[in-house]
């Protein structure tokens, strides 16, 4: 019988929409957005976002990569998952916010520096100790971003200390090497698939 | 990517539900592997075990039996009879030394084109994992009877 060329294999570069969708674990359903605004309406911090989640999704469809990466919206996401459970299209909105944050960090393109720094500092502690470390987290963050404010925070930290609710030194897990080799491997896979 | 075994699968469908589900899958352009070839019966109750054995002996690597969901049979309750025969059939196959997993029963209503397409995909993979069917050369009595029955009905 006569052989014929394969069909359906698309060779065109993938859109920003597909990029974000693929970078999100599982099926994000991002392409299903009907722009109803349930997310923006439910979001407790949307007043402080420079775009509502819905607008951000429209921008993603419009391939406005830089504008999306620069938006503070993902960094103002408080992970309350209201949008996710209410979305009539079952779009994994909160997960997509995580994706956008990690993309912004990777690209080094974000205006909202505090959130990114907090996350990066946090990751630093976890990578080096295996546990998070509130005091260090707070102080390092405030030293960088609002040195004046550190005083008021210090009293708070002091409060936690006096109430035996804070350590001076971070806690370290025993088998840190194991954790680090796991994380390194994961990072390699992440880069390989990116 | 490696060369992989492509099984041939015969699918029996009910005129009222699963065949229409297949139509729907088509109309909705839902893709599924081309390995399966469908036969329309009026009802899964029409499925004579001989059909399945005929298919397997004739070169099929698997047989997919589809019918209306329990309680939704167009003929009220015939799909339950199909279910009983199916269970019996799987035992028979096991006795013949054929993996019972090569025969699968799936319910799919006329509205479930997507589901049917998905089930077909799943079954193709399952049969692919089982590998090509080696039809037993020396067959136990069970199949001899079936063979006789086939001659009878053919006569």
């Amino acid at each position: 019988m006569s052989a014929m060329p394969q069909v359906g294999t698309d060779l065109k570069p993938i859109s920003y929409l597909e990029e974000v969708s693929r970078a999100t674990p599982g099926n994000s359903r991002l392409e299903m957005c009907i722009q109803c605004g349930t997310c923006g309406g439910s979001c407790p911090s949307s007043q402080d976002m420079d775009h509502t989640p819905r607008q951000l999704f429209a921008m993603i469809r419009a391939n406005m990569r830089e504008a999306v990466l620069a938006s503070n919206t993902p960094w103002y996401c408080v992970s309350c998952y209201y949008c996710t459970v209410r979305c009539p299209q079952e779009i994994h909105i909160t997960d997509i916010m995580y994706t956008l944050k990690s993309m912004a960090v990777a690209a080094g393109q974000y205006k909202e520096t505090v959130g990114a720094d907090l996350s990066r500092t946090f990751v630093g502690y976890v990578d080096n100790y295996g546990r998070s470390y509130e005091l260090g987290l707070a102080t390092r963050l405030y030293l960088r971003h609002s040195p004046l404010n550190i005083l008021s925070k210090a009293t708070m930290g002091l409060g936690l200390l006096t109430r035996d609710r804070l350590d001076f030194t971070p806690q370290k897990i025993n088998n840190l090497e194991q954790l680090q080799s796991i994380l390194n491997r994961a990072e390699q896979i992440e880069e390989a698939t990116a | 990517m490696s060369e992989q075994f492509e099984p041939v699968i015969i699918g029996f469908t009910c005129n009222w539900c699963s065949y229409r589900a297949a139509d729907m899958a088509g109309t909705a352009r839902i893709k599924y592997p081309p390995n399966v070839r469908l036969i329309r019966l009026m009802c899964s109750g029409r499925l004579d075990p001989t059909f399945v054995l005929k298919a397997l002996s004739g070169g099929a690597d698997g047989v997919l039996i589809t019918g209306c969901h329990p309680g939704e049979c167009h003929y009220l309750e015939q799909n339950y009879k199909a279910l009983r025969r199916y269970l019996l059939l799987r035992r028979t196959l096991a006795q013949m030394g054929i993996e019972p997993e090569r025969v699968k029963l799936v319910w799919a209503s006329a509205a479930e084109g997507v589901r049917l397409a998905r089930e077909i995909g799943v079954f193709v993979d399952e049969v692919r994992d089982l590998g090509p069917l080696r039809w037993p050369t020396s067959l136990p009595a069970v199949h001899a009877e079936e063979a006789k029955m086939m001659e009878e009905v053919a006569a």
């Binding site: 394969q6 | 060369e3 036969i39 099929a60 003929y75 015939q78 086939m150």
Partner: protein, 682 residues
């Protein structure tokens, strides 16, 4: 010489194979020419004498092509490889018949729905197409000439459901002079429409246009009305259904009752009416749902009637001027003989409690559309006053929420069709009756159909405020003095691109339409199929929207899916027209797909006897053989498969046909082809 059974020299059938391009629908994926060439060359031994491909086999030219070949080449069998038999089987059978070939000696195999539309790999698709064609060829050889079954049509019709769709259908048929039985579950006909005050887009009063129809149903000599009744069992088949109806006792003798109303005026037991007044109004224990009820006779609700609860009272009996109250009345079982059935059982409303963030049931001044309809109705619990839950204060601001439970994968992912328009109607009514500030919160404004968008324009002109955004939540958790004591509707105004919190006095939830809670049981009872959600499946979504898969059973109105009044009425009339054409024909032809017992081969084991759900198999004790009544047999073939002696044969799907088709399908297996590599997504 007739073309039928005219074999060629080697005693083989003379087969023609016709491969359809269906434009590019098939040809785009399947190499149709290759399939035709192959059929001619490779299947010659099977008796294929001609094989052609053509752009549209179903076109008149395509059909002529086949007819000419039958005549000129003396074809004895025809195989068409095109679309699904459910679409065009009849087309090609008729073509064969026109050319003098028995229609049942043609086969239509699907290489569109089952090949070109579901596969992308052209090589594999073409190969599968060949297998499918081979299956058809092997099968058609085994086909036998058949004659369709003639079935007489009983002229009476059963209409189930007394809403506007059922009313329309009943009137159409009755006016044509034929008997109609109209069965309604509630004490009165009228359905949802009877609850409304105004209807969109014309704003004419629902009662004013519905009541006359209800009355003529009640008075029509050809309509027998069975209210407070439900269909219990349906037996038989198209043309001859026998239906069992359970008639609940009214405890009122309709021969004596004049509907004067003294009983319900004097009844001391007031209860909340959860049905007609959707929980915001009251009725008595003996009641008619509403003043214009048809029939006018009341029913006694034994759940709440003081006499039925503790043996006392009997006020109605004492006061009834005609002595029509009959506490000892018992339920009746009515048997009906009908030729056709129209199902118009309508819809239920989405339960707004399922969306907690909208606060219905928790926040007093959140209402559903149904509650608001009753509130607006002059005969309703508030005499048409639009008031808040306290029953007195008028709202100064009202928010109307669209798409409640619709277009939402958490609940129902379909559009309920009517809510946009009824929400616009509500907006107008609120403005008209309270002058309140009105907000409509919508995702997309769906105002298709005649004069609908004009109505939208009109309501906009009336100063109603539209916010494009799906409401996120309705809360009493206020944040600022301006919100105190109000309901706050939180939403993203998607056109302004920011979140808004709009304080209102009252919120109206435009709840979506759902299939009746018992839709699946009803479908089973009538032997028809319904979608996963529960909407009854029509025979063809575009070309046969009022018929079902089951001969003789039709549908009308929202039982098929969300619908507004005009469409429901149109469907009622359409279903009636379908029934009338059958009645006037007096008989219909059915597929001769039936099972037959070969008395010689029957061993009398009776295995088949209790397999048949239609009791079509009778056993002759004297001859010790089973026999099948073709009128009752539905052709499922279960007995054929079960007969250990192989004594039962099923026309249309005989063992020979199926076994041969299997052989054909298996003549091509991937093993013979170069194994192609399948892309599996990493």
């Amino acid at each position: 010489m007739s073309a039928n059974g005219n074999k060629n020299e080697e005693g083989k059938e003379r087969i023609g194979v016709y491969v359809c391009h269906c434009g590019s629908n098939i040809a785009g994926v399947v190499d149709v020419k290759d399939v035709a060439v192959w059929a001619k060359e490779e299947m010659g031994d099977e008796g294929v004498v001609v094989a052609r491909d053509y752009k549209f086999m179903c076109s008149s030219l395509g059909q002529e092509l086949i007819e000419n070949d039958i005549k000129e080449l003396g074809l004895t069998r025809v195989v068409v490889a095109a679309c699904s038999p459910h679409l065009h089987e009849q087309t090609f059978r008729t073509a064969a018949e026109r050319a003098g070939l028995n229609p049942y000696l043609s086969e239509l195999v699907s290489i569109r729905e089952q090949v070109s539309w579901v596969h992308t790999d052209k090589v594999k698709a073409t190969e599968k197409a060949k297998a499918v064609v081979a299956g058809g060829i092997e099968r058609v050889i085994q086909n036998e000439p058949l004659e369709p079954l003639r079935v007489p049509i009983h002229p009476a019709t059963l209409v189930v459901g007394g809403g506007i769709a059922g009313i329309q259908a009943a009137l159409e048929i009755a006016d044509a002079g034929h008997k109609v039985y109209l069965v309604e579950r509630e004490p009165s006909i009228g359905g949802h429409m009877a609850q409304f005050d105004k209807t969109f887009p014309t704003l004419d009063c629902a009662a004013c246009i519905l009541t006359p129809r209800m009355v003529s149903v009640g008075e029509h000599p050809n309509i027998e009305l069975l209210t407070w009744s439900e269909v219990e069992r349906v037996e038989g088949y198209v043309g001859n259904f026998s239906v069992t109806v359970r008639k609940r006792p009214r405890y009122v003798d309709t021969e004596l009752c004049t509907g004067c109303g003294i009983c319900w005026e004097k009844c001391p037991k007031k209860v909340i009416d959860e049905v007609f007044e959707v929980g915001i109004g009251y009725r008595t224990a003996v009641y008619t749902p509403f003043p214009q009820a048809v029939p006018k006779y009341p029913v006694i609700d034994t759940e709440t009637c003081i006499y039925f609860q503790n043996g006392k009272c009997k006020a109605c009996e004492k006061l009834c001027p005609t002595g029509a109250i009959k506490f000892d009345q018992e339920e009746e079982i009515v048997l009906l003989e009908v030729g056709n059935i129209i199902i118009a059982t309508g819809f239920d409303l989405f339960d707004a409690r399922r969306i907690p963030e909208y606060g219905y049931g928790r926040l007093a001044n959140v209402f559903t559309s149904a509650e608001f309809e009753r509130m607006c109705n002059a005969a309703g619990p508030t005499d048409g006053e639009v008031v808040m839950r306290d029953g007195v204060s008028k709202p100064a601001s009202v928010g109307i929420v669209h798409c409640v439970g619709s277009r939402d994968r958490n609940y129902n992912n379909y559009c309920s069709v009517i809510c946009c328009m009824s929400s616009l109607k509500f907006a107008h009514l609120v403005k008209e009756r309270t002058g309140a500030e009105v907000y409509n919160f919508y995702i997309d404004m769906r105002t298709a159909y005649k004069d609908y968008d004009e109505f939208y324009q009109r309501v906009m002109g009336e100063g109603v405020l539209f916010v494009r955004g799906r409401v996120a939540e309705i809360t009493d958790a206020t944040r600022s003095p301006g919100e105190e004591g109000k309901l706050v509707i939180q939403v993203e105004d998607t056109l302004a691109g920011r979140q808004r919190r709009i304080p209102v006095d009252m919120a109206i939830l435009a709840v979506g339409l759902e299939p009746r809670a018992d839709a699946k049981e009803v479908a089973k009872k009538f032997g028809i199929s319904c979608s996963a959600a529960g909407w009854i499946t029509e025979k063809h979504p575009k070309l046969d929207p009022v018929a079902t898969m089951t001969e003789g059973i039709f549908i009308a109105g929202a039982v098929q899916g969300p619908k507004d009044i005009p469409t429901s009425v149109a469907q009622g009339a359409a279903a009636a027209a379908r029934v009338l054409s059958r009645i006037s024909r007096g008989e219909i032809y059915l597929e001769p797909i039936r099972a037959t017992v070969n008395a010689e081969m029957c061993s009398g084991c009776r295995i088949c006897n209790n397999l048949c759900p239609f009791n079509a198999i009778i056993f002759h004790e004297d001859l010790m053989v089973s026999e099948i009544n073709h009128a009752l047999c539905q052709g499922c073939g279960t007995c054929v498969a079960a007969c250990p002696a192989g004594a039962i044969s099923g026309t249309g799907f005989s063992n020979e046909q199926v076994l041969s088709q299997i052989e054909g399908l298996l003549e091509f297996s991937f093993a013979e082809e170069p194994v192609l590599m399948e892309m599996t997504p990493a």
